[in-house]
Amino acid sequence: MIRGVKPMREPTFLILTALAGASRHGYGIVQEVEALSEGRVSLLTGTLYTALDRLTAEGLVEHDHDEEVDGRVRHYYRLTAPGLTALTAETARLRQLTGAAEARLRALRPGLV
């Protein structure tokens, strides 16, 4: 059982996942979250930046670099080491929960899961 891991809200989990392995700018994160959730989660800009502010204050995300595209400066964000740790722990917590649920469902309806 995973103890001491504070559950993350789904948008937070998806933002951290979107930044795992690649730094992204705001719209890039929105696109990646939509792709990861298969179109189910569409982040609005206000929600995204409030989450980024919080994750930055918690040290899970940090500013990476800036790029200028079509006259617009894009700020890129990346996962920090504590961010990677938090994402890993949350993934393990979700995996444990998913595994437990799958085991129950298999017992209930053999062959369906």
């Binding site: 700018h25 705001g26 719209y27 929105v30 609005l44 800009t45 206000g46 929600t47 995204l48 930046y49 409030t50 980024l52 502010d53 919080r54 930055t56 204050a57 918690e58 500013h63 006259g71 617009r72 400066v73 894009r74 700020h75």
Partner: protein
């Protein structure tokens, strides 16, 4: 980044603090907008307003700062509305002068000799006099309930010539005949039972008849028939006029309340951002804010339910002044101490921060 959509997004981004990365948000908003869109959707606008106001509070990792901001904004708006209504009461028509009052009472209660009729010195009085520096200590130190809407009227003394019920019935007929709206009479025991043997049916009572015509209310109070048995010279009937709530009170309350709420939110959010991190008075400012909230909310939460109960329990030809619903000025000492803490907290928040650290904001654009 021009065009109508960018212009409209920029307007919404004013909800974010000036030092926030508005340009970065605008770039993301424009990137995410589908081709041909000229105005933000309602969902987008609501999202930007909500998160912009949240960004103004600073402390992005805090889960409670939003709740504190709401508490401070609501109570400040309510008190500001109450102050605004006090100003609006100055638009009320002055009460009838003594001579006019005497004539009005003679019309309603003919044959009764009213004495003690004097001009009202102000719209609100404390112990019959206008509020002054000399009476501020009464206001603050326990006698705030004496600060009340002024009235003009008199009493009838002597041996009653007709029973109180007859006097009230006659008054009721005269009031209805002269265009007054008359409310159901309210009967109070003049004192309570102190223990057996005590038959509540034999307790002396006082009956109050309330009426309203235009912007004037009338209260007639008559003691029970026991006073008919009296052979001594005593007061058994009183009547007084007051003014109803002037119409200006309602717009003043709305405008004053909204203005107070906006100012309180901006002050709270400024102090919150300013005292984030290594501020020399961070903990003092936080403590002062909490004291203010307790001193402002606690009396209000006690007073509002009892005021509602009182209002429902008896007929009221006119609303009581708004501040009385909030327990003011009965609990004015709490309000003043809370206000002092708030001002001190704001002053301390303005103290310079250590030079090594600037006011934390998110990455400026």
């Amino acid at each position: 980044m021009a065009g109508p959509l960018a212009r409209r997004y920029r307007r919404l981004l004013f909800c974010y603090p000036r030092t926030h990365r508005r340009d970065e948000l605008l770039a993301t908003l424009l990137d995410a907008a589908p081709p041909g869109r000229t105005r933000p959707t309602a969902r987008e606008a609501a999202n930007l307003i909500r998160h912009g106001l949240r960004a103004r509070l600073g402390r992005p990792a805090s889960r409670t700062v939003g709740a504190w901001a709401i508490l401070a904004t609501i109570i400040s708006g309510i008190f500001a509305a109450a102050f605004a209504t006090r100003a609006a009461w100055e638009t009320a028509e002055p009460l009838p002068r003594a001579a006019q009052t005497r004539a009005m009472l003679a019309e309603i209660l003919p044959g009764q000799e009213f004495i003690g009729i004097e001009d009202a010195p102000a719209a609100f009085t404390i112990y019959g006099a206008p509020l002054s520096w000399a009476t501020v200590d009464d206001l603050l130190l326990g006698d705030g309930g004496e600060y009340a809407l002024a009235e003009v009227g008199g009493v009838v003394r002597g041996v009653p010539t007709r029973s109180p019920q007859e006097a009230l019935d006659l008054a009721r007929q005269r009031l209805l005949a002269t265009g007054w709206t008359v409310y159901r009479p309210v009967v109070h025991d003049m004192y309570g039972c102190v223990g057996p043997p005590c038959d509540p049916a034999t307790l002396p009572t006082s009956t109050t008849l309330l009426a309203r015509r235009g912007n004037t209310t009338l209260a007639i109070e008559a003691d029970s028939a026991d006073s008919m048995n009296s052979v001594v010279d005593t007061t058994y009937l009183s009547a007084s006029f007051q003014r109803t709530t002037p119409p200006a009170v309602y717009p003043f309350a709305i405008i004053g309340g909204l203005a107070g709420a906006v100012v309180a939110f901006l002050l709270f959010s400024w102090a919150s951002r300013r005292t984030t991190g290594r501020h020399p008075a961070r903990w003092v400012v936080t403590t002062l804010f909490h004291v203010t909230m307790v001193f402002w909310w606690a009396p209000t939460l006690v007073a509002v339910p009892s005021s509602v109960w009182h209002h429902l329990d008896e007929p009221h030809p006119s609303w009581r002044p708004m501040w009385e619903w909030l327990g003011q000025p009965v609990f004015s000492l709490f309000f003043v101490v809370g206000g002092g803490c708030a001002l001190l907290g704001v002053a301390l928040a303005a103290l310079p921060r250590p030079r090594t650290e600037t006011v934390p904001t998110t990455a400026p654009s």
